[in-house]
Symmetry: C3
Subunit: 363 residues, 3 copies
Amino acid sequence: MTHTVKDIAAALGAQAFGAVDLPISGVAEPAMAGPGDLALAMSPKYAEGLSAGKARAAMVWAGADWQALGLEAAIVPNRARYAMSGLSAMMDQGQGYAAGIHPSAVIDPSAQLGENVSVGPLTVIGPRAQIGANSVIGPQCFIGADVTLGEGAFLREGVKLGARVRIGKRFIGQPGATVGADGFSFVTPEVSAVEKVRETLGKETELHGQSYARIHSLGNVTIGDDVELGANSCIDRGTVRDTRIGNGVKFDNLAQIGHNVEIGNDCLICAQVGVAGSTRIGNNVVLGGQTGVSDNLFIGDHVITGGATKVLSNIPAGRVMLGYPAMKMDQHIEIYKYLRRLPRLFRDVSVLQKGLKSSPDND
Amino acid sequence: MTHTVKDIAAALGAQAFGAVDLPISGVAEPAMAGPGDLALAMSPKYAEGLSAGKARAAMVWAGADWQALGLEAAIVPNRARYAMSGLSAMMDQGQGYAAGIHPSAVIDPSAQLGENVSVGPLTVIGPRAQIGANSVIGPQCFIGADVTLGEGAFLREGVKLGARVRIGKRFIGQPGATVGADGFSFVTPEVSAVEKVRETLGKETELHGQSYARIHSLGNVTIGDDVELGANSCIDRGTVRDTRIGNGVKFDNLAQIGHNVEIGNDCLICAQVGVAGSTRIGNNVVLGGQTGVSDNLFIGDHVITGGATKVLSNIPAGRVMLGYPAMKMDQHIEIYKYLRRLPRLFRDVSVLQKGLKSSPDND
Amino acid sequence: MTHTVKDIAAALGAQAFGAVDLPISGVAEPAMAGPGDLALAMSPKYAEGLSAGKARAAMVWAGADWQALGLEAAIVPNRARYAMSGLSAMMDQGQGYAAGIHPSAVIDPSAQLGENVSVGPLTVIGPRAQIGANSVIGPQCFIGADVTLGEGAFLREGVKLGARVRIGKRFIGQPGATVGADGFSFVTPEVSAVEKVRETLGKETELHGQSYARIHSLGNVTIGDDVELGANSCIDRGTVRDTRIGNGVKFDNLAQIGHNVEIGNDCLICAQVGVAGSTRIGNNVVLGGQTGVSDNLFIGDHVITGGATKVLSNIPAGRVMLGYPAMKMDQHIEIYKYLRRLPRLFRDVSVLQKGLKSSPDND
């Protein structure tokens, strides 16, 4: 797949200079670029790499003297990071899945596949499932009974969608992602130790054992448009109402979304994040990697959590949080500076105590 | 699947009032209930929802004036949360897996399937595996050589059980759950840096590199009755003896149980919990989401850990813990209150130091 | 599979004593050992177990009086823990996968399989994939287009390798492990709230929402020799350059390695560790279970992190770290001792303040 410098620039809304008809077959970091690559040199720190590599064309920073850098052609984007989105989409070689329906796929006759849907080898599609047009269902996927999957979906190998899951348009599922496992909801015949601890904040526990009875999940999972779900991530079904994910939400790998959780639009849920049951998350929220959120909480719009933040109480809109338990990020940074000085503080107080003891009216 | 109000109440051991022959085809939150649904209004806060929805029957709180709430029939359970278990089991629509043995399943001729076992498409069952009666093995599952799986098992799509795993009755495996991966056990030819750090608590590290040799797992995994394993969760094989899980233990998604771990009966292991190798956990223990437990520890009966607790030392029976490193929950809450006031304390001590400096006998 | 005591000792480079022709068919903990087992009694604390069990031969600690322990034969290794590696390899019963290419596997005609490669049932191997000699590809695996997998690989059930992944010799993949998911890289049309927070450390957030555009992963994953990847673990593709894993790196279950990450040789990455995008990790590094490492950091050679360490900044070579945020382990242990005494410190300072108030020159 080859594009000219001119065509790439046009697709990105960027400016092209020099030999704009040069054919480009890939992208590379400057030092590793071959003569057919577009080198990515979007800041001056890459200037040196350009001379080390063999690129004839590069995407460069605004104001770069591309000719002095030894290039024959250059593309200057408005916002380099954003240009990477369009450029990488043009250059993506894809997974090489074959088009069409593989004969080894097991597709229920009542399933409805839209136009131009491809289904990989050894994939199972259950009764009454509906797959939107132009979807690519990869190998060894599972699509359960009565699932609705919108047009333009792309499922990598081994994605699993349980019965009755509803997903909007342009869904991307990474390998092993699973939607629609049963929620984790158990109850004891008598009031349990955990229920008591929640009331007393840990001051009491009970010492007779009980076995757990299962609360079955009757709700489903409803997911909006333009959602991506990372490898081996899990979104559980709701208990009575649905677990709900809005539009434009992106989940990284190994994330866990519990039953009844509601997530708004345009959120980033990074790797290994866990959100416990019935928590509601607003729009434009970013949960950093390994963030944990307790159950039945509310997280407002535009909240950002740093890596490994553990959220044990509600967070109002707009807050930037860090730590365990979560604090405002600037407060956390201040407190942890003091924490490192804690041994000295203890010594200082000890000195003060001795000083006071030896002062007149303590004698 | 339809049940009358009367039948539902009888099944739950609850009281029924009014038009107890009303047919019920589903359950719903009050505001979203249709005329065929049983609305779930187990506390007075749902009264308003009942008028917004269309339910003719509801499960209501003790003492509710159901007629005044506009209902034709009502069910009053003893313990509402517990009643949800029986009710949700009655109303569960299931995954819609077809009965019988799917012709695409690859089943070794030496495997023994009990009566009324169903096997989904593209599932693999290895030599000499034994599957108990009335089990449902979903699509794309893997059951290894010499596995024993008790009666009434229910495996969702893509569950994997390695060779020689032994599991009791009524096991439930959520999508992608895996039992019997090899334990993570490696050794260096010479004493390693990690072994030294454990002795010195971090005061020394070694600076010459060594490669790791693998210790193969020879033990298996033994799991009791009534265990549920969450989506993409992992239970590893033991090194010499078996990794052991008792009866009635419930694991949420993405949990990790290392080699040689022993867990007693009736424990709840929440999502993304990790228990490292050779740790022993008692009965009726609850590990909150993202809890981590180091290797070779002992956690007593009835211990409860709050979300993201990191356990670095043994915990006696009955303790409620929180934090990193784990402390008693009430102590943790007290200390973190003080932590937030740490900047002020530093200022106070600084003022005291100045005061003391200016006091007579420091001059 | 039976070995004599003599043969086992020879294979381990250990000394054998007594009836060295005794046949051994398994290994066991001393108290549970049968007459055909080699009991593992590598420290004096197992002496009692030996009398309780039925072992006729044991691997014992240096200096043990094996005859007094009632044994007929004994093996004395140099370093007991290291001897377990060789011994466990000899005694491993394996997974019992059938040799040969299973007829249900879907193998592209252009794929190249080396000599003596076996492929399990319902496995998919894509176009132009190359599998090295003597590899065992288990059931229900996926090997994508243009993948290179070196000789002697062993893939357990359900391992997934995305297109163009390159892996060296003797790779072991545990069940559900996945290599080559797309990286988690998204960009907003305008500078995003996260980008601002990184600059201001949390002092500012923006309150107008933006949707995310996807940056496609164009890089691959390159993995060295002798690497093992745990169950349901994930290694993502690079954005432009490859994600790179050196030789001899061992990953436990549910680990997450983000795009562009580089890991050196002979590292141990324990369960549920997450390493965010573009971070570089040196040689002989050990990341304890649930460790998290932020993006774009550098971790030097020989670094060790304790369980659940959260790394938010670079770590120089040789450091032993613990905590959130990561501190030197000994410093962390000291500070957390003081933390527990924080309530008392507040009381002491309060007493001092009262004392100072009542002292002469504050009146």
